[in-house]
Amino acid sequence: MKDTQSPELIQPLEIENVSRRRFLSNAGIASGSFVLGVQLSPAIASVENQTDEVKTSDNFSPDVFVSIEPDGQVKIICHRSEMGQGVRSTLPLLVADEMDADWSRVTVEQAIGDQKYGSQNTDGSRSVRKNYLKLKQAGAIAKTMLTQAAAIAWKVKPTSVEIKQHKALLKGSNQALDFGQLVKVAATLQVPARDQLQLKNENEQVYIGKEDIKLLDGELITQGQTTFGFDVDFEGLKVAVIARPPVVFGKVKSFDASETMKVPGVIKVVELPALTPPAAFKMLGGIAVIAEHTYAAIKGREKLKIEWEHGTNQNHQTQAHEQVFREALKKPSTVVRKRGDYSSAEKSASKTFEADYYVPGLAHATMEPPAATARIKDEKVEVWACTQTPQSAQANVMRTLNFPQEKIGNIEVNVTLLGGGFGRKSKPDYVAEAAYLADESKMPIKVLWTREDELQHGYYHSPSYQKLAATFDQNKKVTGWHHSMVNHPIGSTFNPAAKTAGSADLGQGDMMFDIPNILVDLGDTETFYRIGWVRSVTNINNAFAAGSFADELAHEAGKDPKDFLLELIGKDQAVDFSKDDYKYGNYGEDINQYPASTARLKNVINLVAEKSGWGKKLPEGRAMGIAAHRSFLSYVATVVEVSVNKGRIKIEAIHSAVDVGKVLNPDRVRSQMEGAAIFAASLALYGEITAENGQIQQSNFHDYPLARMTDIPEIQTHIVKSSELPTGIGEPGVPPFAPALCNAIFAATGKRYRRLPLKQFGIV
């Protein structure tokens, strides 16, 4: 979520011909291959991972290998984690397209966690944005060198050679050489200077931007042949499940494992160290049961008798805390953005309108719960994990095992496929558990989290309370906007003293309405369990409140909600937040490079209105709602159509228009938009995490339900054609869905729902 790096697009790129380097033998690359190393990153990627293993032996740290083996097979390393967003299909596709490789002859290898790859943190919808140009350049360099190699072979000028579909063609003849035949010569060539490179334009692309790119892992997935974190297995591997303290920062007072030890297959129990603040990515503590197989471990855990000391958080009640939230917003602590003077707008208003919104705590509920395997042998730690961030997993293992920093290279983190991530798997507490248990037990250990573990011991999206207020003048024009928000801050997970949301940049401060008086502020509160980022983070609650409130104002003003949105956004401009004394993070990117463009926001609104048939006459009991939101530098507008039947709401249609700049893989943009709408439908209809006496109440899908097929209609995604820089698609589809849904329900029933989830009202 946090961006620790400066914009990389404009940074110099180093690419070397490393075909002759010694280290390739460990990289699984056949000898005699042509290999390009690409430096993707500034040399020091993040503070927690300052090591230089590769550089000590070599002056150049090759981050991404593009290699061609003598049989012509192209291998591309993917340094980001695949969790369903299609990154393994999309990033290597950029390289393959640029070098005119045949996609069916490309193999993608998953990178281990290593600082040399730059940031591998697959989070924040930025894998494409951060790597786009560099990967294109890598492909172009490979192509240029293959061209030169062919020119040498044919003793012609490079201009007489053309590269197409894995072959060099000699212009004006029917001679052709396959990539495999060029490997030997290419391996001896100098890397061309970047100013000699010609990057493809859109018309020249073969795969990028095209439909029907088949999923890289599609066939294996449909045959059940892929390896997820849960699936890691090898001779001698033991399985562990852990009974964790029901309350965060609680600990084991005493325990009796005698019944556990009687379960056939149980090997031993290990007590984990109690957690002390800050929670960060540390283990939660508790008692681990190590067994020969999963069933024994689970049964053994059921038989544990543990007396807990619940600790400081045991009096926390979610329900009662709502009152604390409300009080906090009577006196917001931090003004984030201020334009004009909201309070004088209030005084001169002909009308003031207010509404409060509540979004509860949410869990990631990745279909695959967290899982990690560790094996320790001769000072080397091998880890296999479904992790979004192998580098912080590596650093976390180092800290857990008190491993010397200079030996961090001895910790190898292998990234499996992830059965969903959504931010949960960027928090490697479970990896620490595996490493700790492997070290303590002197056995290779796979730690599995059951669904109960996942729901009860997560890093939750915080419940939030929001107050919105707006002022109207006599002409029903909005003259003032005030948005206050309070939640348990994510920062508290890393710094227990943190009481204020670290940022209002996710959909609260950066709202794009052109209103003369704006006040955005935050309230303070304490935190009682681990808070983390969940797909689209606080955009979830901020967009719900702001998107619902805008609709309420439209009805108040007696205007069409879509027209009213366009009116609120106002003229075409790049919103200048700095004028409002607001330091806006812009998702870590330069605002000049990725401006907050009102024209693009209005464009997605118009597009979705047109495609959904906004304004058309609908059958009795049906209605549409609309919301639009910019997040992760992308623009999304969503229209939801609902029907009401005997007081029950059914979602009948979902339309979204999305502007992500240049589109690399339209099918995966669409699938992310579909997935985001369904993720958001789950939270709008059903999602609610609550604590009683500090303990999370929900435990499985019966009390933390997710949207099912019966809840979801066809989903239409309308992609804006654009040549702007590519942005992100993993998260931006989530925020506008819930407000669009509730706006539709209001249009259909006249009832306004300001709290989620809707299941509490008995209408779904």
Binding site: G218, Q223, G224, M367, F422, N700, F701, L706
Partner: protein, 154 residues
């Protein structure tokens, strides 16, 4: 020691017959295509066929499968070319892929019983299979497509 007939092969496995079939398949028969999602029959990730019927292997003890024919995703077709698998690829259904074995096993059982299901039939048959990534609309399309493919084969 129990004997299980899995994907056409009889295997002798040394395990407690009360063990849920899912763990027997994954940890003992080393077939990890069937997934754990909830352990309570709530998500469908662990769906396999017993005598052609879709069951939740996480809540089915091994004892209930003795003497019966078990089919897992690994044994659904010889070359991954069951009409459902083909249709899944055609529509690029998977996102993370974790729920997809279960989805495919439920869908193939549906088509075996109902060769031309309506949208409603599909929704009812598939409602027990959760997909957190949100592939439902594509699953619906792919099942219709698979129904067509299966007809062409016949």
């Amino acid at each position: 020691m129990v004997e299980l007939k899995i994907n056409g092969q009889t295997q002798k496995l040394d395990l407690d017959p009360e063990m849920p079939l899912l763990w027997a398949l994954r940890d003992f028969a080393k077939l990890t295509g069937s997934k754990y999602g909830c352990g309570k029959g709530l998500c469908g990730a662990c769906t396999v066929h017993i005598d052609g019927q879709p069951i939740r292997s996480c809540v089915t003890p091994v004892s209930a499968a003795l003497g019966k024919t078990i089919t897992t995703i690994e044994g659904l077709s010889e070359n991954g070319d069951h009409p459902v698998q083909q249709a899944w690829i055609e529509h690029n259904v998977p996102q993370c892929g974790y729920c997809q074995s279960g989805q495919i096993m439920s869908a193939s059982a549906l088509l075996a019983n109902n060769p031309a299901p309506s949208d409603e039939d599909i929704d009812t048959a598939m409602a027990g299979n959760l997909c957190r990534c949100g592939t439902y609309p594509r699953i619906r399309k792919a099942i219709h497509h698979a129904a067509k493919l299966a007809k062409e084969v016949k």
